[in-house]
């Protein structure tokens, strides 16, 4: 996992063309976002100023987002500012991986050739807890496995039986 931790330089030397990589990247992000908004709403009617169509506001705001992006990019070349900093990917991958694993296994999915039967909270719960726990290097294997099982049991009791949420527990064994 440690190999994922990519280190970028924190502050660029003064002589570089790019004075603030952070602002440059931020501007690029906004430019992409504005682009998605502008072209994504391209087929939608704009209307007139007196009678807006559905596409007017999305496209107008997308232009504003993109313009802010251009301003930030310009700023990135002109004024010195912070670098990109470190982007340790371990936490990001583990936490978001845990959330996605939960979403994919709880009720399964069916994407043509790729399919998974619903596995329920009994599987999705411990899976999410264990995956999330991998984000912290201090995690101990036996501790987290016991913790995951106990926590899932607590959640089943709390959400299924106390709050009566319609959340599948273990459809493959219990039928619900």
């Amino acid at each position: 996992m440690a190999a994922d931790d990519v280190q970028h330089e924190t502050t660029p030397p003064e002589s570089r063309l790019i004075r603030s990589p952070q602002n440059l990247a931020a501007g690029l992000l906004l430019l992409v976002l504005g682009g998605i908004g502008f072209f994504g709403a391209a087929g939608v009617d704009i209307g007139t100023l007196a009678e807006f169509g559905a596409g007017m506001v999305p496209r107008a705001v997308a232009v504003l987002v993109a313009l802010s992006g251009i301003a930030l990019i310009a700023l990135g070349f002109v004024t010195p500012g912070p670098g990109l900093g470190a982007w340790p990917l371990r936490g990001l991958v583990c936490i978001l991986g845990a959330v996605m694993a939960f979403g994919l296994t709880l009720r399964g999915f069916d994407l043509g050739p790729l399919r998974l039967p619903p596995l329920g909270l009994a599987v999705a719960g411990p899976l999410a807890v264990t995956l999330a726990a991998l984000a912290d290097p201090q995690t101990r294997a036996h501790e987290i496995l016991i913790f995951a099982a106990g926590l899932t049991g607590l959640c089943v009791f709390l959400f299924r039986f106390l709050l009566r949420l319609p959340i599948p527990i273990a459809p493959w064994a219990l039928g619900y």
Partner: protein, 517 residues
């Protein structure tokens, strides 16, 4: 005055609503009365504090995480519980600030200064006690202020046309931009990005799909809980994992909780002044509440006979800012409930939760749903009282919770969030979407963007679009309508003025200082 009394009475009646649990359900020979709303308020306070005391989980993340719990309830009960969660989260943040030396959010930064020093001197109990008492006093006063201002402000708001409304929203957003941390340009960009996100889904007038990219899941737009939990909840957890854990929970005794007579005498005036400062600042349409604790601390230090005591465990330095914090947190409801404009990210979350219950905050709720409006206001006061009652006796439990290692806490939070977000719509697509917003929020944090303005833009986006469209329809497409109304013009000029002032080099430098202190 009689009106006020009758309204508050209605509020109390709502909060005290009794539901009879039928005899069949329990097997007992008689029906059991259950004060359902009171219990919801209590549970809200309890879980709010429970999550709020966790280090690194501020009030915004707490509310984002707990919001789905209220979705299944009826509107009045749900909102009362939400208010409980809100106060619990606020107070939980103060507890962490005093005991662990970690401010959960901008407004607890000041509490850390003297609160943690008091804790180190073995007076943690007194610091927590005076924080609770100060908050309670401030809460009582602020409740009366809200009740008194609600009617006149609502009447005023009903006179606003779409152009005035729109300009007022712009003013509120500009306040929020100025009071956000970091670059002004980035904060404004975040507002635009938030409005852009809010346009996803079918158009409310023509029902035409826009920016859905053919996905059925996006037809209704992004669910508020999904956006908030991704950007505030998960992004925050991931960020916290990066900093190596340096938690120094106060060891040793908490000491007695109740301040003695000397402590009370020293704190009485700071609490009164803090309440006043916080209440007034909280009323501003932008995020004025955030300034309350700073202003109160500065005032107390200036008024003190011996200013050098501050920073070394002066009780006034905890009492005043905590009172200001709570007063501001509460009067911030005024712009929301009377004008429908959330002044900060926490209030934006409240809007999201209210919308889920089919309520659009604004001048119309007071007349259309008086029980809800006054019930909410009274439950604020009850919530404050409950915090005083449950937090002080339970302080030992919170301390023990603070000692649970983060490596066990965060997987548990992740699981609770997953279940919570699934439960909103019984949809696993929402869970996947949350992961997407978590990634987006993390990238934003890393690139120096403040996520709060994004959330405000997202919440206000649809309302603004509606008002702009109506205003321009009335004026047949002329933007002069925003400048011809004197009120609208005044709002816009004020908005322009604060941005220009904030952009001046001298001010922006001291602004940086305030927020990085």
């Amino acid at each position: 005055m009689m009106d006020l009394y009758a309204n508050l009475a209605l509020g109390f009646a709502t909060v005290w609503k009794i539901v009879w649990l039928p005899a069949i359900a329990t097997g007992l020979p008689f029906a059991i009365p259950i004060p359902i709303n009171l219990i919801l308020c209590f549970v809200g306070c309890l879980v709010g504090t429970l999550i709020g005391v966790l280090p690194g989980v501020g009030p915004i993340a707490t509310i984002a995480i707990l919001m789905p719990l209220t979705y299944g309830l009826e509107p009045v009960g749900g909102l009362i519980m939400l208010a409980g969660i809100y106060y619990g989260a606020q107070y939980g943040g103060s507890t962490t600030a005093i005991l662990v030396n970690i401010p959960g959010e901008a407004t607890s930064v000041v509490t850390v200064l003297d609160g943690f020093q008091m804790a180190k001197q073995g007076r943690a109990g007194v610091a927590l006690g005076i924080a609770a008492i100060g908050s309670f006093v401030a809460g009582c006063v602020a409740t009366v202020i809200i009740a008194a201002l609600a009617i006149p402000l609502t009447r005023m708001a009903l006179l606003f046309g779409p152009a005035e409304y729109c300009s007022l929203m712009i003013l509120g957003l500009m306040f929020a931009v100025v009071l956000a941390r970091g670059s002004l340009l980035k904060a404004i960009a975040m507002i635009f990005a938030g409005i852009l996100l809010s346009t996803v889904g079918s158009d409310f007038e023509t029902a035409q799909d826009r920016l859905t990219f053919g996905l059925v899941e996006l037809k209704e737009g992004f669910d508020f809980a999904v956006v908030a939990m991704g950007i505030f909840g998960f992004a925050e957890i991931i960020k916290n994992l990066e900093a190596p854990e340096t938690r120094s929970v106060v060891r040793g005794a908490i000491g007695r909780l109740l301040p003695n007579r000397n402590d009370m005498r020293q704190s009485a005036w700071p609490i009164a002044r803090g309440t006043l400062i916080g209440s007034v600042l909280g009323l501003l349409p932008g995020n004025g509440a955030v300034l309350g604790p700073f202003a109160s601390y500065a005032a107390e230090k200036k008024l003190a006979k011996d200013p050098s005591r501050f920073g070394r465990g002066a009780i006034e330095g905890v009492a005043g800012p905590e009172a200001a914090n709570n007063a501001g947190a509460q009067t911030a409801f005024v712009p929301l409930l009377t004008l429908g404009i959330p002044p900060n990210a926490v209030m934006a979350l409240m809007v999201g939760a209210m919308t889920v219950h089919g309520i659009t905050p604004g001048p119309q709720i007071m007349t259309k749903k008086p029980d809800l409006f006054w019930g909410l206001i009274v439950s604020m006061w009850i919530g404050n009282l409950m915090l005083l009652v449950i937090n002080l006796p339970l302080i030992g439990m919170w301390v023990r919770l603070l000692r649970v290692p983060y490596r066990l806490l965060f997987p548990a939070i992740v699981l609770f969030c997953c279940i919570g977000i699934y439960a909103v719509n019984n949809s696993t697509a929402d869970v996947l979407l949350v992961a997407g917003f978590g990634l987006f929020g993390y990238v934003l944090l890393k690139l120096g963007f403040e996520p709060a303005p994004l959330l405000l833009g997202f919440v206000l986006g649809r309302l603004m679009e509606e008002k702009v469209r109506t205003a321009l329809r009335y004026s047949r497409g002329s933007f002069m309508t925003f400048l011809e109304s004197p009120l609208s013009l005044a709002f816009l000029l004020l908005a322009l003025a604060i941005v220009v002032v904030a952009a001046l080099p001298a001010i922006s430098r001291s602004r940086d200082k305030v927020f990085t202190e």
